[in-house]
Chain length 468, copies 3
């Protein structure tokens, strides 16, 4: 008989003397609306509002947390349905789903397990655990659910109580889906400008993108000055479409400005197909500074996500493309790297920078001290590998004593997996409830303050960080 | 009605099965005398024994933990009364105090909140929480207290049960206040030699300081040899005034000796106003080695506080001067940096080095392994941003298993805020009581050993580290 | 009256609501056989099966955890009986033992204390704590035990329930003791190939070892190709003797291949006594890559232990030789360092790499992400300074959420101290039981899963990592 799936009402709350209070704190935040101000859900989902595809396509193939764990235990990417760049057929959806279900035990102790159990039980209404035996049953049950109108993307947007959701969009995006959504759901789904592809001059296809950037912006991008102007124009277009923020994924947090002449030289070289790794890195760092300058002018919140070596395995990248779970963090320096930006804009009225890391060593050493003094800096929520019960707990323990609660950004779900959004917010609210309750029972925080802080962490801080 | 201020008797003790024992351990250490062997209280306070100024001047303006948090949330330094270098007037004390009180919620979860609650309730006898509404009431109450004789510095020294207090004094200091104090309170307040200003040849005004150093020491400092001799002389003067230690705040822990010829060259260049960042760093590293050599001779304990980028924001530094909360840590290497010193003096009889860090990654990786084998090395107490309940707890968890308890220095309060000293020692004693009680209830330490270790951490280790 | 020695049945289990379950989980794993697949016990112990020597020789002198702690508190290496290279006599065994016993309090809170209490009480049947007063009594009691046949090495191998034990053996070892043991105890004691001495061309005596390597392998090692062939031959000899793995202790994890021509040049230079630190480091990194290539062919598991600066104090090394507790960790990079190996072999069928660290910062940042996606990578158990209750707990907390349980290696005891092996496995099983029980009471893991995972961590994962 298959094992029943019953997420416990007290899951991820402390087990000891703080539990009862943690329950009450969680009860006070669990029904607050969701502000999803940094994520990667595709806008076309809501523009078209088509039913979701099959269970594998929805829950396995695009979730790199899930596929990387299965790959790590010897399941080949092909068996998981990862689309090959050359279009070669890979596994059928039902086969993919069976692989996933038969390896369910691998997820013990991981956040994927918490999120998936929540999705299965509370969103999809499933009642048994995945296993080799239950795979087909679950596949059919999920497929049946997805065919119903209440499981369409816009219906779920309401069911999930999502007040506002930001997507992530390239600087060259035409924002057409957003225009369609805005007509139907005004102010509910907004874009975020992610200019990474146009600021890294050494990436294949960069110069074609620059041409497209010029077209979108209606400016001449054959010069560095024109390129900066195109970026300024595009920011205005994003702002008009409701954007609140930009997002920057760089290898390093270095943000040192170049002279116009030096930047122009690198830019011109790159347009002629000549670039060096050093020039490319210097240009990317310069652009972080320039984008900060633009943020200080136009008010878009600047989000920085540094410190990941993308596509660690060239073979996987060549066969399956980017974002296939083979991105590995590196040690990341912030104190010296961000000094030029903070010297110039750290105390500037209206500039707001949100810093994320996958290098936890920076929490207490650099990030909390920076956020704890610069009015412009907020610490982003625990990101990627750290968006987990112990990871979120460590974040609070390492950051709060120096930066307090009010220099953190509020939770961001940062996901492509739309169905996991409520689970992610709920888990974060549980972990924060537990942390606050533990402080109260240790008499390090008053109970009334704990309830207020919980509201702020769950909802208000996301507003004040991104929307004020 | 204002919220009552009532620090809980069990604050910062564990909430679970260890609480009762933690209470008993804390009870056994809470009344031990305070040894304050590393701090920054101004000696003139005790020399003159004048009443303290107003509440803002006493509790807000000089406390960079407090001002940095307020600044981080948009309160301008001027509104906090930070004195401008140009003498321009800033806010009135009562206005500063109101800013502080109306932002009291920002300190939730921070050590500043614990310290201030302790000071307000147990030192100043206040009975309501700070808030916009209570600001004036509290201001007046505190001002009234400060006018009473029992709140004069020397009276508080007794009330606080401070057995010995070390100040921090430049190599060029004439130690006049210490002479005056020594006559009235023999052996109670002693200086600590901090030679930073004379070993960093690239700091503005260095050569003037060198002239003054020569005058103070009665030696000719126009040569490197004379400069070293001046430092030796000054150490003797400090020792005669009761000093137990030197203190060194360097960007890096590098302590590599230079040849006399090379050191002489850099020194001569610097006197002629020519220096490079590389030369300055090499000279500072050389001086760490030379000071270790002198410590091995004269027995002054050598304290090293590396790894902070001072004055991160040049604009703040230009307007308000140093030590305004804009000092940010960096990753710090110890293993290779200290090798030259430890190769030479690590096993030397009579040499004692106390290592501090604001980079917690070094605790288990480098500092505990070094302190756990070199007889000369002790690990300093958690420092600066890490002098907090969770920070002190992590220190014990990351250090004890490799270095044990007896290679740590005992608590140091490291503060300019005289009124916070009892609160800081009390918080450390609470955290240690909780850590020890947790070990006992997990049957990892015997109860009788826990009581002995608690005494040692609270009092005896500071004696054996600095006074034996 | 001396204090009774009574290790508590619940030692190192959680104290709160998880204790009862932790007890039951521990009860389910504590009698599983021990797989000791990475350790440093000397094979000759079992070849000769002679009685152990005196208590000091068995329990103090060779245990660098113990001697480093005593040295750190001022006991000279001579007083601890550390053999001097020049053969000068040092302390008598009974004197050494007295030094150890009179400093017993130093070990409070350290893993040495847990291990030794376990050995004293459960292996040696002692009933009082070490102290200055009990030193002679304990010495005589232990000496009497060691004279009994049930305390001979092979008898203890059975008593300890050791199923399989791997030793560590140089590439130039003749494996004679293993041949003798294999005849008597087939398949019970196997060698591990540790080629460090022949891959670091800058170590004194390297070229003599290369000659010996050639003799052992029956190949001509005057060329780089012949040298590689010798290593291949030796691997086959080790495999024939039952070896499952190689072990590599490098300063850095860098594993970048050199061209054959460049490797040949460095090799030839080194044979002529000419080498540079850069060449030596490049050659060592190249050899890591070459050994990975050989592992991918012959199936030996590749264990990497990087990031330790050996013999930090040259004077101690000169007088007493290596491995005297003066090895200090350094920050260690894995993501970029291992990329060449993982690009080539990370997804290769049959390649298995086990990564160890003494830099905990790499756990969540680099090691868990690597192990959580590459099928070839497993995370080794907490190593050296981290093989302790809090260290093992942090390992699980920092690794599990990204890598899960099944990308870790299972426990390895990694010790020269044969008598401590049961204590080390037991402590690891206790810590894992506590971690799992805590997850269950926080409703983050189902109880049935916890029991299964506990079995896997205690026994099955060591099998699947090293023996499958």
């Amino acid at each position: 008989m298959p094992k029943a799936l019953q997420p416990h009402p007290d899951r991820a709350l402390p087990a000891g003397p703080a539990r009862e209070l943690a329950r009450r704190i969680h009860a006070s935040t669990k029904d607050l609306p969701l502000l999803c101000l940094h994520g990667h859900v595709d806008a076309t989902l809501f523009a078209s509002d088509e039913p979701f595809g099959d269970p594998a396509e929805l829950l396995v193939v695009p979730d790199h947390y899930v596929t990387r764990m299965l790959i790590s235990q010897g399941v080949s990417p092909d068996r998981l349905g990862l689309p090959r760049r050359d279009g070669t057929a890979t596994a059928e959806p039902r086969e993919v789903w069976r692989e996933f279900c038969s390896h369910w035990h691998l997820f013990a102790g991981t956040p994927s397990r918490y999120w998936l159990e929540h999705e299965f039980a509370e969103v999809l209404g499933l009642s048994v655990h995945p296993s080799a035996e239950t795979a087909d049953l679950l596949y059919d049950e999920i497929a049946a659910r997805l065919a119903q109108p209440e499981f369409r993307p816009r219906a779920l947007l309401d069911a999930f109580n999502i007040e506002l959701l930001s997507t992530t969009d390239a600087a060259t995006d035409d924002l057409a889906p957003h225009a369609k959504i805005a007509a139907d759901l005004p102010g509910r789904i907004v874009p975020t400008l992610r200019p990474d592809a146009v600021v890294h001059v050494d990436r294949p296809g960069w110069s074609d993108l620059i041409t497209l950037l010029g077209e979108r912006a209606g400016t001449d991008t054959t010069s560095y000055a024109g390129y900066l102007e195109a970026l300024r124009q595009r920011r205005q277009t994003f702002i008009a479409a409701g954007a609140r923020a930009t997002d920057h994924g760089h290898f390093s947090a270095a943000a040192t400005p170049l002279s116009d002449a030096e930047a122009e030289r690198i830019y011109a070289d790159a347009l002629h197909g000549r670039t060096t790794p050093e020039d490319a890195a210097a240009f990317a760092g310069n652009l972080l500074f320039q984008m900060a300058a633009m943020s200080a002018e136009d008010g878009l919140v600047m989000q920085l996500h540094p410190g990941v070596l993308r596509d660690h395995h060239p073979g996987i990248h060549a066969t399956y493309g980017p974002d296939q779970g083979h991105d590995i963090p590196v040690a990341t320096e912030f104190t010296q790297s961000l000094r030029p930006v903070l010297e110039r804009f750290g105390h500037a009225e209206g500039f707001r920078m949100v810093l994320f890391t996958v290098d936890e060593t920076a929490y207490s050493r650099e990030l909390a001290p920076l956020a704890g003094v610069y009015p412009s800096v907020r610490l982003g929520a625990p990101w990627w590998f750290l968006d987990s019960p112990d990871g979120m707990r460590r974040f609070r323990e390492l950051v709060t004593e120096t930066a307090g609660f009010y220099n953190t950004s509020g939770f961001v779900d940062d996901t492509r997996a739309f169905l996991s959004i409520p689970a992610r917010h709920d888990l974060a609210r549980r972990v924060d409830a537990g942390y606050l309750a533990d402080l109260v029972v240790q008499h390090r925080l008053d109970e009334d303050d704990a309830f207020q802080v919980a509201q702020d962490l769950a909802y208000n801080l996301a507003r004040t960080t991104y929307l004020s």
